[in-house]
Amino acid sequence: MTTRSIFPEEMRCVVLMGIDYDGTSHEVGRGIAPLGKNSCGRYSARDGVPRLLDMLDRHEVPATFFIPGYDAEHHPESVAEIDRRGHEVAAHGYLHEAWPLESAEEEVLLKRTDRILREVTGKPVLGWRSPSGRKSDTTLGVLKSMGYIYDSSEKDFDLPYRARFGKGADDTIIELPNNAYSLDDFPFYKFSYTPPSEVLAQWKGEFDSIYCSEGFVVLSVHPRSAWGSGTPSHTKVMSDFIAYAKSHDGVKFFDSRTFAKWCLDHSDKLEELSYV
C-alpha cells in the first residue's frame, strides 16, 4: 500500500468539492413535513445554492452538486442553473434514503433519480454519492449499468481507487472516497456547534496534512441552513478555505466527473479494491 501522491507535479494536490443539495427530501423522506424547525431544506433552493454558486463564480472553481431526485423534481430551475453555471449535477438518492434499501427498490430509485436529473440538464449523469453513506453490494453494478463512471460514498482510503464489484473485465468503477467526519460541514455545525472560524482552521489543518502527503482533498458541504454551508458565515468559511487552497502551488480544482475521467485515463496509477 502506498500513501504517496499518484499525481503529476503540476497537479500535486487535487481538490474536489461535493455539495450535497439536501433540500426538503431530507425531511419528507422520513415522513416529516418541512415546517418550523424541519424547514432547513427549504433554504437550499431559496438562498443556499444561489449564494454558493456566486461564491464559486468569484473563485472560478468547479464543484459537484449531488442532488436527490425529489429535490430536482421540486426545484428543476435550481438544478438547471447549477448546470448552466458550469458545475456537475450528480445523483444523491431519490428521497435522500438514509436507511438500508432492498436491492430491487434501490435499483428503481437509482434509475428514477437518474432519469429526473437527465431530463433537467439534458446531459448524462456520471456519478453518485449515497445519502448518509449507505449502499448495498449491488449498488455499484446498477450505477455502472446506467453509464456512471464513479461513486463517491466510501470512507476507507486517502486516494481514488478502482472498486471491483464483479469478476468481469469491466466490473470496476472509480471510487472517490470522502471524509464525512472531519472535512465536512455538518459534524461541526450540527453536532458540536463549533464556531465557523474554528471550522475554517480545522479544514485548513486537514488541507495542510493532505497537501504534504497524498494530495487528494475531498470537501463535502450542504447548502441548507442550520448545519449547512449556504448561510453567509458558513459560505465565507468555504470561500476562505478555497482561497487558502488556491494559494498553494500545484493545487487543481476539478468537478468529480472530470477528475474521474482522469482516473480512468490513468487507471494504472490506482489501487484496486475487490468486493468479490
Binding site: T24, H26, V28, G29, R30, G31, I32, A33, P34, L35, G36, K37, N38, S39, C40, G41, R42, Y43, R46, D47, P50, R51, L53, D54, Y70, A72, E73, H74, P76, E77, S78, A80, E81, L95, A98, W99, I116, E119, V120, S132, P187, Y189, F191, S192, Y193, P195, P196, S197, E198, S225, A226, W227, T231, P232, S233, H234, T235, K236
Partner: protein
C-alpha cells in the same frame, strides 16, 4: 417538473437576493427571547418535583430576568419575548414589566405544546393562549413561535384565521417572506436560525466565550450580506443567556454590534409590518407540494446519526 420555457424568465430569482431594510439599515437584528420558564421544566417533571435540576426555569424568572431587562435597556434594544401562556399566568408582573418597557410579547402555546401533534385541539389552544396573553398584556399578540419549532400542516392557516400578523418558527430564509394560508389573509414569516440561538450551543456545553465567537462570526457575515439577523436567546439558567457572565459577554457583543451604526434592532412586529409594507407576493404553502408524498411515506423520525 421538467423546466420549460419559463426557465429564462425566472433567472433573476436564482441570484442572491437583497432586501430593502428601513431607515438605511444595512442589516436588521431580530432579538427574540424564548421565555420558557417553569412551563418547560413541567414537561419533564410534576409540580411536586420542581426542585434541584428542575429549577433552571425558576432561575430565569428569579435571577436572570432583571439582568436581561437591564441589558436590553442599556443598549436600547427592542426585543420580542415569546411566552407560553402558563408562564404568563404565573408571572403577570414580569410580563407587564416587559410591556411597560416597550418590548413585544409573542405567543408560544399554553404549556409549550407540540403543535405537530395537537390535532383538533390546535385552534383552541392557539386561541386560548392568545386570549390569556391579551388579558395579561392588555393587548393581543400578533406574533407566534412554535414551541421547539414543531408545527402541523394547519398551524399557519389557524394563525391567519385568528388574525396573527407573523410567525417566527421557520429556519429557511435570509429574509422575511409572505404566505397566504387563507385567501385574503397573509402571514409574514420572520425566520430564525439555529446558528444564532443560545439554546443548542449552550446545550452542547460550550463556554460563553465560544458562544460569542459563534455569534460574532454569524452576525458579521450576515451584516456583510445584508440579511435578517435573527438572534434567539433564552431566559433560563441552563441553556439560556441570563447568568451573569453570559450577560456580560452579550453586553460586550452588543457594544461592538452597535458601534457599526448600520445594524439596527427591530422587534418581530416591526419587521413583519415593514415586510407587509413591501407588498411581497405570497409564496406557496410550504407543505402543500409535499402532502401526497408524506401521505405514503413512513415516519422514520429524526436522522439517527449521533457522533460516537
Amino acid at each position: 417538473m421538467v423546466p420549460g420555457p419559463q426557465r429564462q424568465t425566472r433567472r433573476v430569482e436564482l441570484r442572491m437576493k437583497s432586501y430593502p431594510w428601513p431607515d438605511g439599515a444595512r442589516a436588521v437584528i431580530f432579538l427574540s427571547v424564548n421565555f420558557d420558564a417553569e412551563t418547560l421544566d413541567l414537561k419533564e417533571t410534576t409540580p411536586d418535583r420542581m426542585y434541584g435540576r428542575f429549577g433552571y426555569g425558576r432561575y430565569g424568572v428569579r435571577a436572570g430576568f432583571p439582568r436581561l431587562v437591564a441589558l436590553l435597556e442599556k443598549h436600547s434594544i427592542p426585543a420580542t419575548f415569546f411566552v407560553a401562556a402558563s408562564d404568563a399566568r404565573r408571572h403577570p408582573d414580569l410580563i407587564r414589566t416587559l410591556v411597560d418597557k416597550g418590548h413585544e410579547i409573542g405567543a408560544r402555546g399554553i404549556d409549550l405544546e407540540d403543535f405537530s401533534k395537537l390535532g383538533d385541539a390546535e385552534p383552541k389552544i392557539l386561541k386560548e393562549s392568545r386570549d390569556i396573553l391579551a388579558d395579561v398584556c392588555g393587548k393581543a399578540p400578533v406574533g407566534f413561535r412554535a414551541p421547539d419549532g414543531n408545527m402541523s400542516v394547519n398551524t399557519l392557516r389557524y394563525l391567519a384565521e385568528l388574525g396573527y400578523e407573523y410567525d417566527a418558527s421557520f429556519l429557511d430564509s435570509d429574509f422575511p417572506y409572505c404566505m397566504e394560508p387563507v385567501p385574503g389573509k397573509t402571514i409574514i414569516e420572520v425566520p430564525a436560525t439555529y446558528a444564532l440561538d443560545d439554546g443548542p450551543i449552550y446545550s452542547a456545553r460550550h463556554t460563553h466565550a465560544r458562544v460569542m465567537t459563534v455569534f460574532r462570526d454569524e452576525i458579521y457575515a450576515m451584516r456583510e450580506a445584508g440579511t435578517l439577523i435573527p438572534l434567539t436567546l433564552h431566559l433560563r439558567g441552563d441553556f439560556g443567556s441570563t447568568r451573569g457572565a453570559r450577560i456580560a459577554a452579550l453586553d460586550e457583543l452588543f457594544t461592538q454590534v452597535k458601534s457599526h451604526g448600520d445594524t439596527h434592532f427591530m422587534n418581530g412586529a416591526a419587521i413583519a409590518a415593514h415586510a407587509r409594507s413591501l407588498g411581497l407576493t405570497p409564496e406557496p404553502d410550504p407543505a402543500a407540494a409535499h402532502l401526497a408524498t408524506l401521505a405514503k411515506t413512513v415516519y422514520r423520525g429524526d436522522l439517527a446519526v449521533k457522533p460516537k
